[in-house]
Symmetry: C2
Subunit: 627 residues, 2 copies
């Protein structure tokens, strides 16, 4: 082999959300890591909307954080607006979401990467893998630099043969607007015999905030003040939150829908320029108009792009219509009558590698030493990419260091486990994203208890430094102290009366342990302890977790049993004539896919990508009712 | 003509240093302006070293600022390290220079652009000009957007058919590392019959600051504290300076020189891959080794790239050697023995348009409505680009608005005037940058008095808003009050004795006006007024300017006369056998060019690009001595 500039344990290719987490994860294991990416300035770039978190995704961020990742820490440094989604439904299903300053997010990611002395960032576009006897043994860059490694993690996102579309006549090679696609590496991977396929995704236009009539749109303020929420479990006490900015809500109505309908044939997607599948749950506005023609209007969020600019992101209007049509559509929207468009939306088609070619460690089965993580595996979303990055980085690091067992997380411990199992075992037939319904463990796998679920894994692997270990210990002790107090403390009927009455449940006939009474809906742990004469001095997230662990104490066993039962019911027969279309308790995706594929057993249905555990549970009930 | 999305007075193509200033200048005139650039995220990007200012260049920044530009304001927001160069030579030739946080500089530029309500930024890569009856009438982007304009300013820097070289075997199309070159537009401009030529420039490798042994290099601290210097005349009182960082000095010595000499044939430049000329005064390290083999060592500055990263810029080591050789060379340098290279250096070849095709307004003579500014005109340097941007933007705006006379600055008012006159009248035969020797008015055209020189121009054009007008008035009043006080105040011999003695000049025999005594070297205005019993309460830059205006009161006339004399001496004969090589008072560039071209008269010598007014003055003396 010719000269290598340096040798590493792990080389990560790509500095997006998967790549940065993979690099940090391997570095935390003690591996010597290089992150090689096309431009150091774009490390941590958010390709599409400037927001992190949301339902299920927010939980992933916290799982990544519990495993030592950087997404939560970077979000804490860049949050411009914070919302706790699902607030009305109670803390068990709370879902944090943050809009971020796009530029400060990038800066934060870079700073956080550089905290790791054994992690080197290198600017370079990887042109090919160096192979050694069928194993991945390093990378070579377009700039002529060669680096050796025991394991290589590829996280090139939408860049592999990326092709940007705007309307049916404009096509530009690119991995993201303004950035070149990766072709050499794509060709080599394909030549190596891996199966490759194409997906597409899209992004909406951006607008000049100075041209919005804010008196005609609805304002949504940040809730950061109300929560003092920290994404990271490892708080940096000196961190000051940024100035919070509102976002704004408006709607696409008839006039805009008509323009889109008229020009639908000029959309890259509907005009035939793109054939590949896009993300069902981040649909383009063309999809919305075509698939839900009855919807009266579609909500749009105007989200700030950063503190240094008035540019705004038009969430909900992803499109590949010609730029002119995009502008005309925007101007039909209330508040945007005079709007100026700073960037046109576009769609992008790219190579992905069907993830059934991977092991659960994210290693490509056919090529030892080669790992894939992120959008390259057919997923979509920053958080999904980050989560895979952590798992691939840890496994690549463990293998490179020759350290024992690989790391495979169970579905019952985490959304990361669900994600890995779903894509590797069942594959994807459209861009994969996470939902709560994909998990059988929706009540016990929550955003608030990520540390309790995953800190033991991190401790075992040695991912934490001393202050982090101490922070984890403090948090666990605090939770334990609270549940212990609740178990020990007795509350008498007269002490509980007011709270019980407020909750609308039956009065107590005799004294009870607080730990028992707190299971009743509408009764909080702190207020119960106070009423019982054992008030606590400090709240915070430990209190949330302790309360939820007590409330859902029985659920873990119940969820587990239900999951096992589903598995045992694999032979449950599904008649060929089942009217899936009418089964309202199934998701639309499940109805469509079951109708099309008509599996013969529940086990077969379970292998269809997009049919979730929730769908399977509901299906059994629907089938029993139908019989 | 087919549909135009919008019509503007002025469209600026490119968001580098020329483009951003051109857009702001036209916007300040009241024009409706669009800045169309390939990626909004790279607006204000510094392609090479993260520093603004320096000798002559620092003065340009202040001239740009006096005309309402943004470079000084952005520098004030991003300065990590400040030095006043030429401090030992006294304030008349002081030259401010700032190292900047590259990312914060970009953010600042974007914020400053968006202050102008009539300036819209648009992400788009211009694919071609829209022409109307031989006039530039708008632009069309690769994304399919069309915009009309009365004037178009092209400021595409090194992007036109840019080609990146690393060693002799690696060539990548690119306008800057990681960014695509502009080809369509280049082809159209060439097809329009304009003369096109190629230059090259280069950039050094970047390194990981964590791998530097700082105990083995010399530290240079910021002088910001000592000066409380503000680049902008329009101070933002709320602006807090950033944390200041030191830079570090080390040297390339024999071991490194040997490596470069051994591998010189593998350099893109010396190995034949590049034929075009590079910047003489920002030479590659290969140039230094080949042209100055006798130099014992070459100074290198390690400059911070930003507060968010430990990456450093290796100023002095611009190179197009193969990456491997770059790394080996770096590791011979004291303090860099273990260094890790984050990016390889590279050279870039690009199209420029010989600027003799322009009028003094920066309009392309053959294409009405079309203006060129920046590196596209064969110059080099951020400040030179910014200065041209202001002039081109103002002239494009004036023409588009149909407002009277074009703006042409005289050589005696500014470096901007010198730059415009030099490149348009004499052309360039290598990348052009400014020096003090290019100006006949080195003592009266200074960094401290840019406002006095150019505010009247700005006022006449209406470039200032009300608070800016007030700031200018305050500064002028303060200077006037100081010079007036100096003219009115008499100082008696016994009052002046101590100061006069300290200065080593002759004792006073009778009372004098302070304005007269201050002309003596080594005597300051503030101390004189204090000694005369008329102490002043407030210092600042107004005091510097007032003092220098008094000290050099006679120079303006003297410099002007010398310049006129040179012009009158156009017929001064230059013998064919003049031994130019031996004329030590000429710059090396002048000696080489005069030897090669052997002009017959002084006027002919004056037309050779690179022969400065200082050279001409010295030449007359040398010739008279030789005769
Ligand atoms: C236009 C667009 C719209 C999108 N819309 C949505 C949406 O609506 N909803 C949603 O959930 N997700 C969306 N996404 C997807 C989301 O951006 C990705 O899921 C996420 O960024 C994937 O992360 P990643 O780390 O896999 O890849 P990326 O974030 O794409 O990062 C890839 C990295 O690899 C680098 N790279 C590429 N090739 C090379 C090479 N050869 N050598 C070295 N480095 C290389 C790149 O520079 C980049 O740093 C969109 C993406 C795009 C581009
Ligand atoms: C590798 C390198 C090394 C350099 N080294 C030195 C040095 O050592 N010393 C020195 O003084 N100077 C150096 N320079 C030069 C310095 O960077 C330039 O002089 C300065 O940046 C020129 O400013 P500009 O505004 O003309 O162009 P740039 O700063 O290059 O800006 C050009 C802008 O145009 C945009 N653009 C290009 N094509 C299009 C299009 N078709 N449509 C829309 N937008 C477009 C780009 O995105 C960019 O925003 C170097 C430059 C490079 C690239």
């Amino acid at each position: 082999m010719s000269w290598l500039e340096a040798e590493f344990d792990v080389i990560v290719v790509g500095g997006g959300h998967a790549g940065t987490e993979a690099a940090v994860a391997a570095a935390r294991l003690g591996a010597r890591v290089a992150l090689v990416t096309s431009a150091l300035e774009t490390i941590g770039q958010m390709s599409c909307n400037p927001a992190i978190g949301g339902v299920a995704k927010g939980t992933v961020v916290r799982e990544v954080d519990a495993l030592g990742g950087i997404m939560g820490r970077a979000t804490d440094r860049a949050t411009l607006q914070f919302r706790m989604l699902n607030r009305s439904k109670g803390p068990a299903v709370w879902a944090p979401r943050a809009q971020c300053d796009r530029g400060l997010y990038r800066r934060a990611v870079r700073t956080l990467l550089e905290r790791h002395a054994n992690l080197l960032t290198i600017q370079g576009t990887v042109a090919r893998l160096i192979m050694d006897d069928g194993r991945a043994a390093g990378v070579e860059t377009l700039e002529g630099r060669r680096f050796g490694a025991r394991a290589v993690v590829i996280t090139t996102g939408t860049f592999l043969r990326g092709r940007i579309h705007i309307g049916t006549t404009t096509q530009i090679g690119g991995g993201r607007a303004g950035e070149a696609p990766t072709t050499h590496l794509a060709e080599q991977l394909e030549a190596a015999g891996l199966t490759v396929a194409r997906f597409k995704t899209g992004t909406p236009p951006r607008i000049d905030g100075r041209s919005v009539d804010f008196t005609r749109v609805e304002k949504q303020e940040s809730e950061l003040g109300a929560f003092a929420y920290r994404w990271s479990h490892f708080e940096d006490p000196g961190l000051e939150p940024l100035t919070q900015l509102p976002c704004f809500i408006t709607h696409l109505e008839d006039a805009g829908k008509e323009i889109i309908a008229t020009h639908i044939g000029e959309s890259a997607m509907y005009g035939g320029a793109i054939a590949s599948r896009g993300p069902r749950y981040c649909p383009s506005v063309e999809d919305k108009i075509v698939k839900f023609p009855e919807a009266a209007r579609h909500q749009l969020f105007l989200e700030p792009e950063g503190l240094e600019t008035t540019e705004m992101y038009v969430n909900g209007l992803s499109t590949s219509l010609p730029a002119e049509v995009q502008l005309r559509t925007l101007r039909t929207v209330r508040g945007l009558e005079q709007v100026r468009m700073t960037r046109a939306g576009y769609a992008i088609e790219y190579d992905y590698y069907p993830p059934t070619q991977l092991g659960l460690t994210f290693q490509v089965r056919a090529v030892p030493g080669l790992y894939f993580a992120g959008q390259i595996n057919g997923t979509t979303g920053y958080e999904e990419a980050a989560g895979q990055g952590v798992l691939a980085g840890l496994n690549a690091g463990l293998a490179a260091l020759g350290r024992g067992e690989p790391l495979v997380l169970g579905r019952e411990t985490s959304y990361l486990g669900v994600l890995a199992d779903d894509i590797v075992t069942r594959g994807v037939d459209e861009p994969y994203r996470l939902f709560t319904s994909r998990s059988e463990f929706r009540l016990t796998v929550r955003q608030d208890n990520a540390l309790r679920r995953l800190a033991p894994v991190a401790e075992r692997l040695g991912l934490y430094d001393a202050p982090e270990r101490a922070a984890v210990a403090r948090r666990m002790e605090r939770e334990d102290a609270l549940t212990e107090t609740a178990r020990r403390t007795t509350i008498r009927p007269e002490q509980a009366a007011a709270l019980v009455e407020r909750s609308g449940t039956a009065p107590l006939s005799h004294a009870l342990k607080v730990a028992e009474l707190v299971r009743r809906p509408g009764i909080g742990l702190a207020e119960l302890l106070a009423a019982a004469g054992a008030p606590i001095d400090e709240g915070g997230e430990a209190l949330v977790t302790a309360e939820l662990e007590l409330k859902y104490a029985g659920y873990y066993v119940r969820e587990r049993r239900a999951a096992e039962k589903l598995q045992r019911m694999g032979g449950f027969a599904l008649a060929a004539e089942l009217p899936y279309e009418t089964m309202r308790s199934l998701t639309i995706e499940a109805r469509q896919k079951l109708s099309a594929q008509r599996p013969m057993t529940l086990a077969q249905a379970a292998r269809i990508p997009g049919v979730t555990p929730a769908d399977l549970q509901n299906l059994v009930i629907e089938v029993e009712r139908w019989r």
